[in-house]
């Protein structure tokens, strides 16, 4: 056999001292992570279903603060990304890394710390996010103490992984391991850079960056979180589990090497496509578009490599549930990574941005690629770990079809809703007026689509529940193999390079640390080129003299806006389109956001843009609207916020907040913190007086006063022409 000769030619002659070594794989840690991904997956999906239903029936928030959409939505995204997919990554890595390196994990203790620490972080997210403890930055909502815990845990994971790689018994690093390494390095860098924040209390901090720069850093993070948390680790899992499940080698190993390097090199540049037509400098937008288009090649390289691995085995796909799930997962990856670059074309993005099209796009990736690959991995691993056969192939097939139908019934209505709403926003009458001047008309139109979407999501969850039942039954029918014995030759001490070895292997494959440094350099170059000019080039953020820092009361109101997660449904970014300036007012300027720590541009318009809402309605309108949105906007799907009218504002931290803002560069005069509270009381008294004129009696200490102050300030620094 040719393979045998090649592999032996690879190694120096075996010396007599080199005995076959026997060792054991740790399966317990794999099982723990598999259970965690199943449990958190179902919980995260259920939270998503609640959020989906709330968009049809806003009463489902039951007027409870911790059940409102603005707090539930970040809980859903964090749960499915970091709990469901996160535990899925760890499960797959801990299983495959041991076998690819022919060694047990570096340290059982680190493995256990990794597992329990990660669950604690998830638990802290479950507790803090519904309480409104959030930084407001998407997929990075967790506050600073949890950010630090994540960093520590990530280091533990990396330590354990590199320790394992260093004591491996197989010289060659299989392609999946590179993907794991790239994941570890990039996620660490992304998380640290995006989480620079100034704490002012145990659970409150302000982003180090402001406005445009904060937005650029956030979407550099946000995009690469998708790239390096949802994509590269799962590509690694694909390169391990698809060949294993099909029992045939990956279609092209060479392609896997090339597309790996291309992918990590290009991905890091694509972040600005989340900010097209925003106030980001134009050159940065174009750079993001170019690299997003280029991404098609390495992404489809991976997709084709995965699918073609099954060449000649398609008959088995019909029979084997594991392969079925994997085929749909890879297909969804292909669709999502074609759609992504298309969405980053400016003319397509002009239509799709802020609409449900994006929600459809991410769920094809999330439900299809991540969800189905995780399910495939679970169906593959559980019977093996329990040394038995899957309890019911019929149930697995039922799960497959329910899940597939779920994805279709989720995505199609969302595409429909996205197109419909965008077309309605942009429609003008023959007289040149907005055809649908009332935003609510466009919401009413797509409400049936929201209902269908919830149905699709429900199907998907029922499938996942059936899987959980099937896997539990499988586990009970077998015996769990805690330790799995394996044998391999030790690595020879000295590595002798064969003459004709190619540069890639010579340089990288035998030296994990060098690979680590190389991928770090590669990803940093891309990121820095995008970030540095924005920080250095002053003309990128023209200052506007009329833009002033927020008053203390407005600052407090802004923090309430963040606490309630208003940015989950309302943008603060008017793009330079006539359809938007007619509807919302003057388009946004970069200089307007220089004091915004963090930026609050939002990424979705479930409700209208709020950048220039200041002065649009009287104070009393906001008062009634927050108490009962339907009283002011019949048919609104916004939940009521009655507690804002009942709870007193905690203004004791006002001086701390002013000090923190000054540290971040907001030009409050020295000593202003002593005067801030008095100013706050003065402004709230004015608002109370205005409310009284409109027949609303309210105490000046209530939270609603601060929120009204902030909303009425929004966008008023710039004089908008009539």
């Amino acid at each position: 056999m040719s393979t045998t000769t090649v592999s032996t030619a690879d190694r120096p002659p075996i010396e007599p001292s080199h005995q076959l070594e026997t060792f054991r794989y740790d399966n317990t840690i794999v099982r723990l992570f598999l259970i965690a991904t199943t449990v958190w997956g179902i919980i995260g999906m259920l939270v998503g279903l609640i959020a989906a239903l709330q968009l049809v029936y806003p009463a489902l928030s039951f007027e409870l603060p911790f059940l409102t959409f603005g707090r539930i939505r970040p809980l859903h995204t964090n749960a499915v990304i970091f709990a469901f997919v996160g535990n899925g990554i760890f499960a797959g890595v801990y299983y495959s890394l041991q076998r690819l390196c022919k060694t047990r994990m570096f340290s059982d203790t680190l493995s256990r710390i990794n597992f329990w620490g990660w669950q604690l972080i998830i638990l802290s997210a479950v507790l803090t996010l519904p309480l409104g403890i959030t930084t407001s930055k998407e997929y990075a909502e967790l506050e600073w103490p949890i950010d630090i815990a994540i960093t520590v845990l990530w280091v533990v994971f990396g330590w354990n992984m590199f320790g394992t790689i260093l004591k491996r018994r197989e010289r060659h690093l299989y392609v999946a391991i590179w993907f794991y390494i790239a994941t570890f390095v990039t996620v660490a860098v992304l998380h640290i850079v995006n989480s620079f924040e100034l704490p002012i209390a145990l659970f409150k901090s302000y982003s180090w960056y402001a406005g445009v720069q904060d937005a650029l850093v956030q979407w550099w993070y946000g995009h690469n979180a998708v790239a390096f948390f949802l994509t590269t680790p799962y590509l690694g899992l694909m390169y391990y589990f698809v060949p294993k499940a099909a029992n045939r080698p990956v279609y092209s190993y060479r392609l896997s090497i090339i597309h790996f390097w291309a992918l990590i090199f290009i991905y890091i540049w694509a972040g600005p496509h989340h900010l097209l037509y925003n106030t980001l400098p134009n050159w940065a937008q174009s750079l993001g578009v170019v690299f997003s288009i280029m991404l098609i090649a390495p992404s489809w390289g991976g997709m084709l490599n995965g699918l073609l691995t099954l060449r000649g085995a398609w008959d088995r796909v019909r029979e084997d549930a594991v392969l079925k799930f994997m085929v749909v997962a890879i297909t969804c990856y292909g669709m999502a990574t074609f759609e992504g670059p298309m969405l980053s074309l400016k003319n397509v993005n002009g239509i799709a941005h802020f609409t449900d099209w994006i929600v459809a796009h991410v769920h094809v990736g999330g439900l299809g690629w991540n969800g189905f690959l995780t399910f495939g991995m679970l169906y593959y691993l559980i019977p093996r770990l329990y040394q038995t056969k899957l309890h019911s192939r019929k149930l697995a097939n039922t799960h497959f079809w329910l899940g597939t139908m779920g994805i279709i019934f989720y995505a199609l209505p969302m595409y429909w809703a996205g197109f419909t709403q965008s077309l309605m926003w942009k429609e003008f009458t023959q007289e040149g007026l907005l055809a649908y001047p009332n935003f609510l008309e466009t919401v009413e139109q797509i409400r049936p689509m929201y209902m269908l979407r919830a149905g699709g999501g429900a199907l998907y969850i029922i499938g996942a529940l059936i899987m959980a039942y099937n896997l539990i039954k499988t586990a009970y029918s077998g015996t769990f193999q805690r330790e799995e014995t394996a044998q391999a030759m030790p690595l020879t001490k000295k590595y002798q390079s064969p003459k004709n070895e190619h540069w890639h292997r010579k340089l990288f494959e035998h030296r994990p640390v060098l690979l680590l440094v190389a991928s770090l350099v590669v990803i940093l170059i891309g990121g820095l080129v995008e970030l540095i000019p924005t920080f250095l080039v002053k003309s990128n953020v023209p200052t506007i003299s009329s833009v002033q820092p927020y008053t203390p009361l407005e600052l407090q109101g802004r923090d309430l806006y963040i606490r309630e997660g208003c940015n989950n449904c309302h943008s603060q970014m008017i793009r330079p389109f006539r359809s938007e300036t007619e509807r919302y007012g003057e388009y946004a300027k970069a200089g307007e956001f220089v004091y915004d720590h963090p930026f609050l541009w939002g990424s979705k318009r479930t409700g209208p843009d709020l950048l220039r809402v200041g002065g649009k309605y009287p104070d009393s309108w906001h008062y009634h609207h927050m108490y009962d949105p339907e009283s002011m906007s019949p048919g609104s799907i916004m939940p009521p916020y009655p507690w804002l009218l009942e709870d007193d504002l905690d203004a004791s931290n006002t001086a701390d907040k002013i000090n923190a803002m000054r540290t971040l560069g907001v030009p409050y005069e020295p000593g202003y913190e002593d005067q801030a509270l008095a100013d706050l009381n003065k402004q709230s008294a004015e608002i109370v007086a205005r409310l009284k004129e409109s027949g609303v009696e309210v105490s000046s200490e209530k939270e609603i006063i601060a929120l009204i102050a902030y909303l009425q300030r929004l966008g008023t620094d710039i004089q908008v022409k009539d």
């Binding site: 690819l100 060949p243 090199f265 040394q387 004709n500 540095i532």
Partner: protein, 62 residues
């Protein structure tokens, strides 16, 4: 704005170097042994005594 031109220039150069390196590697046959690893990972290294129903027999290994 000169810093911008410099940085983009540097990064494009790096990108080009990467591209050329890959082209050179492919053309000059550096990827000759890019098959073995993809087959090797299919073997489970379980000792022959407690062999499971793994389809690929470990006997072909050594």
């Amino acid at each position: 704005m000169s810093v911008l031109i410099l940085l983009i220039g540097v990064s494009l150069t790096v990108a080009l170097v990467f591209l050329l390196a890959f082209l050179w590697a492919s053309v000059s046959g550096q990827y000759e042994d890019d098959y073995t690893p993809s087959v090797r990972m299919l073997f489970d290294d379980t000792p022959p005594s407690n062999q499971k129903e793994t389809p690929s027999s470990t006997s072909s290994k050594k």
